[in-house]
């Protein structure tokens, strides 16, 4: 019988900066603020942290440790899965604390996704990002035809999906509307106060068929952090532990080229989700809420099917009639998601799930929040999942 990670680790601290569209602060400055807040939220001191999972391409554990005054780092790794990295990092952190390689692991991520990625004349200087392994591939084989933005590449997935299963735009619109409604309850959300209903969604300008303006998420400046400890240590800390029941990750085949895939709808989560549910010992329908990575609305529909919440092609029915709104059976992205709260690579999803399961979500708190799931999606469809409980 192999060892099981189930319930061996817990999220014990969370922290975040304000989310902005326009900042003079470096991403590093914001990440350190989020990290300090997460450590304090757990009732820990920086010196208690001995594991660090920094984001890909920007900083390293040694730099984070030096800034925070941590003198002994026994564990570090970095997940290279784009936006699927943070949720995949939960699994890596759980492994480290469950086996004793580390006592308390800090996961931190931040960026100036608004101010630094596109050239802006008023942007403050920041260091360039390192080479991402997928970029040369995109530059060599998609860019020659003017298809290099995620919205363009992911539209190959979305178009085949829409045409094969007759998916109406209202299905993706239901994802947008749920996130937009939920953001109205969230003081941190960039779309709070900006109500965009189904009619406005359908009338928005097209970007790359079938994607429209509101199928795409918010470029954001901001940072978040999470601290993960062993279940045993978590019980002695400041906040109610949020236990990690199951984790999983997966990649499409091939993971580094969408065009070569024989089945465009076979995504990373198709592999990762069954592994996580098997570890957790529950079924997809047992969860109280869904924090699904929503860089684009259509990507949410694909993930609902990969999660096993509904059969392939049937997400269009699953999202109907308010089922994914907070009054429905499967509330989706109760903070507003990447679409309407902020885009910090899905860290916001982990933080919101933690708040919900602590019963500390404030205005977005659900009446029933015992078990929930978080997914990550990144690069060309890599997937990660964490199933969490109170």
């Amino acid at each position: 019988m192999p060892l099981s990670l189930k319930d061996q680790a817990a999220i014990v601290g969370i922290g975040e900066t304000d989310y902005m569209r326009g900042t003079k602060r470096t991403a590093m400055d914001q990440m350190l603020e989020a990290a300090q807040k997460a450590i304090a939220d757990a009732g820990l001191e920086p010196q208690d942290i001995d594991g660090i999972i920094p984001p890909p391409m920007y900083t390293i554990a040694e730099e984070v440790a030096a800034n925070l005054g941590i003198d002994d780092v026994s564990f570090s790794t970095t997940m290279h899965m784009g936006g699927a990295s943070p949720t995949a990092a939960i699994g890596a952190a759980a492994l480290a604390v469950a086996t004793g390689m580390a006592r308390h692991v800090l996961i931190v991520l931040g960026w100036n996704g608004f101010s630094a990625i596109r050239p802006r004349p008023d942007a403050a200087p920041d260091r360039p990002w390192g080479i991402q392994t997928l970029m040369p591939m995109v530059q060599d084989f998609y860019l020659p035809y003017g298809a290099f933005m995620p919205v363009q590449m992911y539209s190959w997935l979305a178009m085949r999906y829409v045409k094969l299963y007759g998916v109406p735009p209202e299905a993706a619109g239901a994802v947008w509307v749920a996130c937009n409604k939920h953001a109205q309850l969230n003081e941190r959300a960039l779309m709070k106060g900006k109500v965009v209903d189904m009619a406005a969604y359908l009338n928005a300008r097209p970007l790359s068929d079938p994607m429209r303006r509101y199928d795409a998420c918010l470029e954001t400046d901001g940072a978040c952090a999470v601290v993960i400890s062993s279940a045993e240590r978590a019980r002695d800390l400041a906040k109610p532990p949020v236990y990690i029941m199951g984790v999983g990750q997966g990649r499409p085949n091939p993971g580094d080229d969408i065009a070569a895939r024989k089945d465009l709808l076979h995504i990373g989560l198709t592999h990762g989700a069954p592994r996580a549910f098997a570890m957790a010992g529950i079924a997809p329908h047992d969860v109280d809420f869904l924090q699904i990575y929503d860089c684009f609305t259509y990507v949410v529909l694909l993930q609902m099917e990969a999660l096993g919440l509904c059969a392939r092609g049937e997400a269009q029915d699953f999202v109907k009639d308010g089922a994914i709104e907070r009054t429905g059976r499967y509330p989706l992205n109760t903070h507003g998601g990447l679409l309407c709260e902020a885009h910090v690579w899905g860290m916001g999803h982990i933080l919101e799930a933690t708040r919900q399961l602590r019963g500390a979500a404030g205005a977005t708190q659900l009446a029933r929040a015992e078990v929930g799931l978080v997914t990550g999606w990144g690069d060309m469809g890599d997937g990660s999942i964490a199933i969490l409980r109170r």
Binding site: D140, F141, M159, K163, A260, L264
Partner: protein
């Protein structure tokens, strides 16, 4: 002056990728074909994902295929694509089985469908020649 088409010759730093584009310059589309098992593959790989062989050759394909998926790009701020919207970029499934991304020419975006038959044409773009597909 040739017709303006949505394409750009890539300046690749990867030798294998660069070779793919260089061997299109005589107007013929060739893909890697495994010497051991005959599998055509794309994007270029060092080894055959089916049999593991390191031996391969650039081999001409017949150039016929079908549209496996596509998108109509309606917004793009990067030259030379900026002035060419809307244009269609498809995933084409070749008769040989390999699949590749390429723009479709001579099509009305609204009339493109899945499984539509297409054939390759190699056209001049800024920096060199690259393959496109047109309705068959």
């Amino acid at each position: 002056m040739s017709e303006i088409v949505p394409g750009l010759y890539p300046s690749s730093s990867d030798p294998l990728n660069r070779a793919f584009w260089e061997q299109c310059q005589d107007g013929v589309l060739r893909l890697q074909r495994c010497d051991a098992c005959g599998l055509f593959r794309h994007i270029p790989r060092t080894t055959c994902p089916s049999c593991g062989s390191h031996a391969w050759n650039w081999t001409p394909v017949c150039g016929d295929g079908t549209v496996f998926s596509y998108t109509v790009i309606r917004e793009n701020y990067m030259p030379p694509f900026q002035g060419l919207v809307p244009y269609v970029v498809a995933v084409v499934k070749l008769t040989e089985g390999a699949q590749l991304a390429a723009a479709l020419l001579d099509v009305v975006p609204e009339q493109v469908t899945l499984d539509m038959p297409v054939k390759v044409v190699v056209r001049d773009v800024q920096g060199g020649k690259i393959p496109f597909f047109i309705p068959a």
